[in-house]
Amino acid sequence: MTTLNIALVGNPNCGKTALFNLLTGSRQKVANYAGATVERKEGWFTTAGGRRVRLLDLPGAYSLNATSPDEAVTRDVCAGTYRGETAPDLLVCVADATNLRLHLRFVLEMRAIGRPVLLALNMIDAARRNGMEIDLPRLQAELGMPVVATVGVRRNGACDLLAELDGPLPPVPAPLPPGTDLHAMVRGILADCVTHASPLSDRIEERLDRWVLHPVWGPLLLVVLLFFMFQAVFAWAQPLMDGIDAGMGMLGQAVGQMLPPGVIRSLIVDGIIAGAGSVVTFLPQILILFLWILVLEESGYLPRAAFLLDRFMSVAGLSGRSFIPLLSSFACAVPGIMATRTIQNPRDRLITILIAPLMTCSARLPVYTLLIGAFIPHRSIAGFLNLQGLVLFVLYAIGIGSALLVARVLRWRDTDRQEATLLMELPAYRLPNPRDLALGLWERARIFLVRVGTTIVSLTVLLWGLSSFPPPPAGAPGPAIDWSLAGRIGHLMLPVFAPLGFNWQICVALIPGLAAREVAVGALATVYSLGSGTDTDQAASQLGQMLPTHWSLATALSLLAWYVYAPQCVATLAVIRRETLSWSVVGLAAGYLFALAYAAAFLTYHIALMF
């Protein structure tokens, strides 16, 4: 039997992705649509009847009348006109049974496409719990398409849908006469097919929103949530990180004992294990950060945070909509910049893209963690705050403050003030589903580990090569790395960076940091472990204890300030190019970030020296 191509469509927040995860499990692939930066999610499964299905999870849309690139992709793929995409054999339209008034309008729009359509009435359990009764046969007759009930968050929640897929394809629904008032039609259908009791969840929503959106308690809750997010990243991840760190140290020692001393042993122990190992150590922190963002997103809180912050963002000339891409940028600027697609106003979008790299991404976290751990005393303040966590919070705050300032400056030059729009749905609160969280986290962990396995390992090997060759002449004084290529490059860069208090080892670490910021930690480990002579394993695992003997506090603070701004990430610059299709925007971003980084590090170093 040939593979059935199905496209999953529906309004945002209809539970489409949960249904997609339920149907495909982990057999899914996330990429981009050809020629666009809209995320393309595809998965595979086989029905009980043995039918192979290729399922495409289209971006959520309110209407075929697209107002964003996401909605345009959905419209074109449904119509079968998107270049490089197979036209779907069947459209499975997903609607939230508790919000039919909004979602059915889009379902009716699907009738105009001229393809078989099937309606999956999702979250039917929640609707029934609320005392809603839906007459499925009647709904099916009035909509002119088959209707199945699904529960995206329950194990067997899609069995009716799967059974339907084993049968013949439903007929193409007759298009509605042009000019039909879809809202009036939806109202009529709801009156015929749905009996409402008192909507229970609505009252829960009302009560929650009274606190969450409260002018005083709302922002307070937001600050507390964000603050605990950063404390958690620093405090909870520590035991896991220590475990991985110790494991890597033991691995290096074990491998070191197995291999004879020489070039190969140095490559594996100093290059690969010390370099990549010190980066893998940060996996727990990155996962905790992503978990927080995923939970906030899945629970429906993020748009509410955008609501609370809209006024604040408008000070910088942006709307609350920019908040979500900027928050994602705390994990990584690449998905953050990609998430700016949801901002309709092009100017708002450009400014959000330009300031997204100022949000402290998780790749900077390894550097911050290393330096804070090494230079800031582990002390508690006022009984419950941890000084190290506080410094981390301040670094994040500086990034945010600078972003707002930069946005304000960029806005200054604007002559035509287009109206900034906010208009967005505040979805119902939901308990995040463990499966969706796990799949989302797995996706992040995979991306991170693939990066470590490819980019980071090759860079650390390259750096190891640069720092090991040429070897010093016999009987030469000083550590071997002084004679190597890396040592020479570092010394060449030194005049530029010396005013910032950087030594040549830092300069060397800055180079591979261009490809991926977190490599700087691995690079420092490699440089210092080779420089320290015989004691290689220890140097790699104890970089944190070693640094204070090599650097002054002013140098460490200066490097921290540098990292708040530095545009050292090729992936970010590449995604800016891809999203804006303009090299001059890339140049502007790299230029202003470099200038800010240099100025901030310079000031920090010289102010710190005064104390």
């Binding site: 008034r101 929103d209 922002p219 609501f307 604040f312 709307s319 309709q344 906010l422 749905e425």
Partner: protein, 82 residues
């Protein structure tokens, strides 16, 4: 009266969504989201620092919108009608 002037917690019914210019995309999107004549609407929250934006409930859905956007929607309060 405009939706942007509706006090918090007052029940109202939508009369019309007006396009300030020709084929205004915001007005179009508002209509697609269910801001159509006859729908019941209520302001459920106003944002900190000046009360802009506002959150409204229409049917079972909540939307956040700025007051300039809400100005496009004309409403009458339920009491007004009686």
């Amino acid at each position: 009266m405009r939706l942007s002037d509706l006090p918090r917690g007052t029940d109202a019914v939508i009369d019309a969504v007006d396009d300030p210019g020709n084929a205004d995309p915001v007005a179009q999107r508002l209509r697609e989201l269910g801001f159509v004549p006859g729908e019941a609407v209520r302001v459920v929250a106003t944002a900190p620092m000046g009360g802009d934006p506002i959150a409204v409930r229409i049917g079972f859905t909540r939307f956040a919108l700025r007051r300039t956007e809400a100005e496009r929607v004309s409403v009458h309060t339920v009491k007004e009608q009686e």
